[in-house]
């Protein structure tokens, strides 16, 4: 499958947005989107981790295929991700303690964000080459970041209105996400020609 980079970008950023259309990274999407300041920080950290671990996984996958131990893929990927998160944490802690204080709580959570694991799995399944993988990792995580920010801003707005106690919380967030998802359906078919 030889997809153009533009297709990969539009596809993973908008049409098959990880969060709104493929349901990846749901826990953080629902859990960390109450505040915009948290959401975009989380989004950017995830972007960073996804890009780095995506590239590393691409390299590791070549090794795995060479050794004919494809069945170890999953465990290797998750180790790469955990290591990336750990390294990111250490790096930020050392170079920007202020940023670390703000992000500290969320960083370990990235390990259990399935959007992060999905990127290496998808790029392997789709046989992307190196450039494609990188573009895919960037656009998919960018899509995640964008969806996070959108939802967070919309949620912050609902904070200012009087919502019945019953709907407050996850149910309301889900309805918001659902409308966002419907709006994103408008992008479907983009680049499909016709």
């Amino acid at each position: 499958m030889n997809e153009s980079l533009g297709h990969i970008f539009v596809d993973s950023f908008l049409i098959n947005n990880f969060v709104l259309c493929v349901f990846l990274g749901m826990c953080s999407f629902l859990g960390l989107s109450a505040k915009f300041s948290t959401a975009w920080r989380m989004g950017v950290s995830v972007m960073f981790v996804i890009t780095v671990s995506g590239i590393l996984s691409y390299g590791m996958n070549i090794v795995l295929v060479m050794l004919h131990v494809e069945y170890l893929r999953l465990i290797v990927y998750i180790v790469i991700i955990a290591a990336t998160v750990q390294l990111t944490e250490m790096f930020i802690k050392k170079n920007s303690p202020a940023l670390f204080r703000e992000l500290g709580v969320y960083l370990p959570l990235i390990t259990t964000n399935c959007a992060v694991l999905a990127v290496p799995l998808f790029q392997t399944a789709r046989n992307y080459n190196f450039v494609q993988s990188t573009v895919f990792a960037l656009s998919a995580s960018g899509g995640y970041c964008m969806a996070m920010c959108l939802l967070a801003l919309v949620r912050e707005r609902t904070e200012l209105s009087d919502i019945s106690s019953l709907a407050r919380g996850t149910a309301l967030t889900l309805v918001l996400a659902s409308v966002l998802s419907m709006a994103f359906m408008g992008f479907a078919g983009m680049g499909g020609g016709g």
Binding site: L72, T111, C114, A118, F122, L166, V175
Partner: protein, 218 residues
């Protein structure tokens, strides 16, 4: 409720009281992604339950030997192993089911429910209760998925387990098979449960105030 004195049965706890889907709102990715048919929902639920039982059991077994600093890494490694095993087992059992669940079996690794149970329960309790907890949580999760799958399949396709329910002229609400429908169905269930819980709490509160108002305050 703070009035409970005996520790809850770990199995029932997960199945109902601390239901992962409706109460803890954990493991949302498969909950939303793999519930457009009841069959897939059940399969995914069972796969997760299986992973939970194995990983909880293994982690409980080695819990005393795990160095504290690397415990998360250890749990993740064990969970990844359990998931890989499940992955191959599902593939061996049925390829269509495997295809339907798509990438979401490997993604069980990143299901926060599994790690959460490892950290919150299996790391502190013996093997048997941990496995019970895993089974309870897993089945509770499967229950949640099935609930969601039912709404989505019945409304979205007019069928239940692929059996047509409304005759040939039924107009399915395609929306429910699409991503927005996943969000909406979960929102509906959460609203239903919230209403239910609110009412129950009010009754409980009313009942308790009548009998022993002092104890509620403490």
């Amino acid at each position: 409720m703070s009035t409970t004195t005996t520790p809850p049965n770990p199995f029932l706890n997960g199945l109902w009281r601390q239901n992962p889907t409706f109460v803890q709102i954990l493991g949302m990715c498969p909950t939303l992604a793999i519930t457009n048919s009841v069959r897939n929902a059940i399969a995914m639920g069972l796969a997760t339950a299986f992973v939970l039982v194995i990983s909880n059991g293994l982690i409980a077994a080695i819990r005393k030997h795990v160095p504290k600093q690397v415990r998360i890494a250890t749990y993740i490694a064990i969970i990844a192993t359990a998931v890989t095993v499940t992955d191959y087992l599902v593939k061996a059992i049925s390829i269509p089911v495997y295809k339907a669940l798509g990438p979401f079996i490997p993604l069980i690794v990143a299901n926060c429910l599994v790690l959460e149970r490892a950290e919150a329960f299996a790391a502190k309790k013996p093997v048997i209760p941990s496995m019970m907890d895993g089974a309870g949580m897993g089945l509770g999760f499967a229950f949640g998925l099935t609930c969601l799958g039912t709404v989505r399949e019945v409304l979205g396709a007019g069928t239940f387990l692929s059996i047509p329910l409304f005759g040939p002229n039924f107009e399915p609400w395609v929306l429910f098979l699409l991503p927005p429908g996943g969000f909406i169905s979960l929102a509906i269930w959460l609203l239903v449960f919230a209403t239910f819980r609110e009412r129950k709490q009010r009754q409980l509160q009313a009942g308790l105030t009548e009998i022993q108002p002092a104890e509620v305050r403490s």
